[in-house]
């Protein structure tokens, strides 16, 4: 009874909001997005280049959306902003997204896929002349990751397994990516997890050595991150979500076919210089969410205890996201 009443209040509220939104002098066409100003929270990583491309090429504008981006430090850390409505769409790694959803903390919908790992995108690196030369040497060592309990720690755990090591056999410690190379050089961490372009920089300036590619073997082509909205947002703004998805897909197709466009877009929201950007191996831009592929993340999380029970990813993929 209470649930019903609350629902009806929500419906009325939603109606009022839509009515007010449409009350301007130039009413948008009836099939336009319910919300035209969209705020996207994203990490300053190469994988969100399609967002920048969609802004620059006017793909969002063509769909009637005005998109503003806000740089965040991690999907998990920015989740409260998604809940409070400070941002509408959040770029987050899938592990944090599934943890938030499975724990009941935030009811989310995956509206788009950002990136799947390609060889050379994420590396585990050691200092020059480090005694650690293979994965088996990692026992008891400290590994620097950007966020605990996220895709970094999960994928490192998976990488340790064939070498007979468990996650408890190593120590994880949080360091922001920009500080990671320094932490490696000064010995705060024995091994650093570095994405592009940080690993190129670490190799060039400090002579850091690659220990292993992170997403290799069973983790090849692993889905890294996607775009999330809250369930409420998806219910109240289906057209805005669909408009975002169309623009994103168009931009991702451009990013996949024309790396020069990506290089140019990166200059706008990262500090990656042209020379480094052009050496990056960015091929993993994704145009659609593949529920089966994201299910690999959930299954791996179950295997390593991140999730207590099996989680069906298809249940949180928004309509239209899988293309």
């Amino acid at each position: 009874m209470l649930g019903f009443r609350r629902l009806s209040v929500l419906c009325i509220a939603a109606l009022l909001i839509t009515a007010c939104g449409g009350g301007g002098d130039s009413a948008p066409p009836s099939n336009g997005p319910e919300k035209t100003e969209i705020r996207i929270g994203m990490l300053p990583l190469p994988e969100v280049a399609p967002i920048q491309l969609a802004i620059d090429k006017g793909y969002f504008a063509a769909e009637g959306l005005t998109v503003q981006t806000e740089l965040i430090s991690g999907g998990a850390a920015a989740m409260p902003d998604l809940v409070s409505g400070k941002i509408d769409i959040l770029h987050s790694n899938y592990v944090s997204a599934l943890l938030a959803s499975a724990s009941g903390t935030v009811k989310i919908k995956i509206v788009g896929d950002a990136y799947a790992a390609q060889p050379g995108n994420f590396l585990l690196m050691t200092k020059k002349d480090s005694p650690i030369t293979e994965i088996a040497d990692l026992r008891g060592r400290t590994i620097g990751v950007n966020t605990l309990n996220n895709i970094s720690t999960l994928s490192v755990s998976a990488l340790l397994k064939p070498a007979g090591l468990r996650p408890e056999d190593v120590k994880f410690v949080e360091r922001p990516f920009p500080e990671m190379a320094g932490a490696l050089e000064s010995g705060q961490v024995d091994v650093a997890l570095l994405p592009e372009p940080f690993h190129q920089a670490a190799a060039k300036t400090l002579g850091a050595v690659t220990l292993s590619d992170l997403f290799t073997g069973p983790l090849a082509d692993f889905p890294i991150a996607g775009y999330l909205v809250t369930e409420t947002f998806a219910q109240q703004h289906p057209k805005a979500v669909a408009a975002f998805q169309r623009a994103l897909r168009k931009a991702a197709e451009l990013a996949r076919s024309d790396s020069a466009e990506v290089t140019a877009a990166l200059q706008k929201y990262t500090k990656i210089d042209q020379a480094t950007a052009s050496t990056m191996k960015l091929g993993g831009f994704s145009t659609a969410v593949d529920p089966a592929r994201v299910q690999r993340v959930a299954d791996l999380m179950l295997e390593f205890g991140y999730l207590k029970q099996k989680f069906d990813v298809a249940s949180i993929v928004a309509g239209g996201a899988s293309g």
Binding site: A76, S96, A100, G104, T142, L148, N149, K171, V173, G182
Partner: protein, 262 residues
């Protein structure tokens, strides 16, 4: 006798605790906000996380024993270092106007630096681990002790010192019998303030570590384990309360002893 008579009065004052807990419980149940679990959920989760051990070990389980003593040890080590350093430097500048004039600008500058902002430097100097954490805590909390000690040492009755000189007390004797006892109440006020600061800095330093209560808090945040996050917060609150009570006991002991001797 007085202690015993005060017990019922003290217990009576505790009525606030269940009332606050009840309001908290009702409010969080009404809100149904995932970021605000009810205290009943938090307590059960705290037991599952840390208190499943045997009574012989105070119910602490392996996770608790792998984190709590380390945190507490670092907190106390940082506090003792800051206490000793703060008293030594504080009394020195309190008694020597010349030293005060030289050191004051540096001290004022150092006091204004927020220890969390210096964390990356401490990390680079001491690497991840106990030394970095103790350095962060010590640097962050030395100031209240130092300033209070200086203040206490400066405002000693000149008559006391002159009398001591007339009676032929050496420099060391005057320091131990006159200067330190007179400055003690102020020093203790500084020590109490720095104890509560130490808890805060301990948590911040442990965010960037591999174990400790702060690490547990950060890991729970990252796992969206909100009852776990609240569990760590409650634990820190209890720890802060216990430390303060223990400190007050210690202070009472030391200061009454010194009052009686005067």
């Amino acid at each position: 006798m007085t202690m015993i008579r005060h017990v019922p009065a003290r217990l009576a004052r505790l009525w606030v605790v269940p009332v606050v807990l009840l309001v908290w419980e009702l409010a969080t149940r009404a809100m149904e906000h995932p970021f605000f679990p009810p205290p009943s959920v938090i307590v059960v989760h705290m037991r599952d996380l840390w208190f499943t051990g045997s009574p012989a070990r105070l119910w602490l389980n392996d996770t608790a024993l792998a984190n709590f003593p380390q945190s507490l040890g670092r907190l106390l080590a940082g506090w003792v270092l800051a206490g000793v350093g703060g008293v030594v430097i504080g009394v020195a500048i309190g008694r020597s106007p010349l030293l005060y004039r030289f050191l004051d600008p540096i001290i004022q500058f150092g006091r204004a630096l927020p220890a969390p902002a210096l964390l990356p430097m401490f990390l680079a100097l001491f690497s991840t681990g106990t030394r970095m954490q103790i350095a962060t805590i010590t640097f962050g909390i030395v100031w209240p002790v130092l300033f209070n000690a200086a203040d206490g040492a400066r405002s000693i009755e000149p008559l006391h010192l002159e009398t001591a000189r007339v009676f032929g007390l050496t420099r060391g004797q005057r320091l131990l019998r006159i200067v330190l006892p007179s400055a003690a109440p102020k020093i203790f006020a500084g020590l109490r303030l720095s104890l509560s600061l130490a808890l805060i800095l301990m948590v911040i330093a442990e965010f960037f570590s591999t174990e400790g209560i702060g690490f547990q808090l950060r890991a729970a945040q990252r796992a969206f384990d909100l009852p776990g996050v609240w569990g760590a917060i409650v634990l820190l609150g209890i720890l802060g309360y216990v430390l303060n009570q223990a400190f007050l006991l210690l202070e009472k002991r030391v200061l009454t002893w010194h009052d009686a001797k005067m």
